[in-house]
Symmetry: C2
Subunit: 260 residues, 2 copies
């Protein structure tokens, strides 16, 4: 991990780094409590589709977790997101497509997070991005100041598409916040991954999500293999999750990560 | 309100009182923070079927709310519950019936909280008990030390059967925790009441509740007229709600009552 820049704001160190994984350079940010030493838990933050490692909700959650819980937080740009966009026109089209889908309202049983093409693109990039997260966990685990874990996952919407295989198969992750995603009829691979999840899960869902049906969200919750899982449902659309769910996220990590 | 007995334990005053309502004497308990003066919020605790005003989960929640939030808490024996049981054999039969239903596992679309006869009995007693709660709110509102409100409701299972009409129609209640109950096909009266609820609601549901279907729980959540409502779903049966939901209840009242 190469540290590119380090700033401090109100007790939170923000460390821009580049992580080399195979042929790629993956830009990321590591937030840490100022002055903390010794091993700390770290929450991995997977941003949503068309967003990036420092998108406002990721930045806000990272700072909050560092300040309130004294844990570290880390985010990566997903492939073709943030600083990794190689085709700006395609990225812009994806953003517009997502906005149009949300503006159009409920799309019934259509693809959860965009067109079939967009869903295929996310699915194709997922194994690569999961490998990048694993590589980051390797790196953090051997960092003397931040070794040890445990690691938590947070990622809703595309952050769940990327997080699900990681949470299902990476034993160093001990708790996961997922949500804004669903299990469509025919998504056997996703159902298989969900069944493998054995760590506590908080699953956040919006009852009027324009991008997926209620049934698909309930089906994904149902599919998680873990004995400890909680689903929180609020009215409103894909981007309307109430701010107080941040409190629930925090309480969840307090229960399941070594904090403070 | 006649105070029958007052004890103090670890900072919590527990005041046994009798409330006269029409021809009845309704036994209740008021928990208050020791040494507190001036108007405080109060949470009304509606116990479940076959339980009573000092059943362990009610007592535990009351003490916790007093200690953590500095609010008051109050519970009443429902008609034919606790000290108001006039027919011990019938009360014992209700308890056994409930236990048998839980032991038998999911009963499909049957009555939510017992036999049809038991459901009728609860429904028949509800208006009377709602009037008792209103009378208690009147009394608390004119108590110089505890005047002012706001009042919160907490009651799951039968505590929701009793609480729903109160929360729907009593403007002095500003937030409600409900749950472990559902809207069966044909329960138009309950649906009408749910539609009238305009205060924030936290709705707690068990995904494998032996006494009601998932669909009935989702239907009740859906029916609440309020814009601010959250449903928490956990795996497990009717009496298996995870202890951490107490944290969620507390956070909910912190948002919606004047606490501290």
């Amino acid at each position: 991990m190469d540290i590119v820049e380090e700033t401090v704001e109100r007790g939170v160190i923000e460390r821009r780094f580049d992580l080399k994984v195979a042929e790629d350079v993956v830009p990321g940010i590591h937030w840490l409590p100022e002055g903390a030493t010794g091993p700390h838990a770290t929450v991995l933050l997977g941003h949503g589709g068309t967003q990036h490692k420092r998108t406002p909700n990721v930045l806000g959650l990272a700072r909050r977790l560092v300040r309130h819980l004294g844990v570290g937080a880390v985010a990566l740009d997903a492939p073709e997101h943030g600083d990794r966009i190689s085709d700006p026109a395609a990225a812009e089209a994806a953003r517009e497509g997502l906005q149009q889908r949300i503006a159009a309202g409920r799309g019934g049983d259509g693809p959860a997070l965009g067109t079939e093409e967009r869903m295929r693109a996310i699915a194709e990039r997922t194994p690569k991005h999961v490998a990048e997260w694993r590589s980051l966990i390797d790196d953090l685990s051997t960092n003397e100041q931040w070794a040890g874990g445990p690691f938590g996952w947070w990622g809703v919407s595309m952050g769940t598409s990327h997080g699900l295989p990681l949470v299902a198969e990476e034993p160093r992750i001990t708790a996961a916040v997922l949500g804004l995603n669903g299990l469509r009829p025919g998504s056997e691979h996703m159902a298989d991954l969900a069944a493998k999840v054995s760590v506590p899960v908080l699953f956040l869902f919006q009852w009027d999500d324009e991008l997926m049906t209620r049934e698909s969200g309930l089906a994904l919750f149902d599919a998680f293999g873990t004995a400890e899982k909680t689903m929180h449902i609020n009215p409103g659309g894909h981007i309307g999750m109430p701010a107080f769910e941040r409190d629930a996220v925090e309480a969840f990590y307090v229960r399941h990560l070594r904090v403070g």
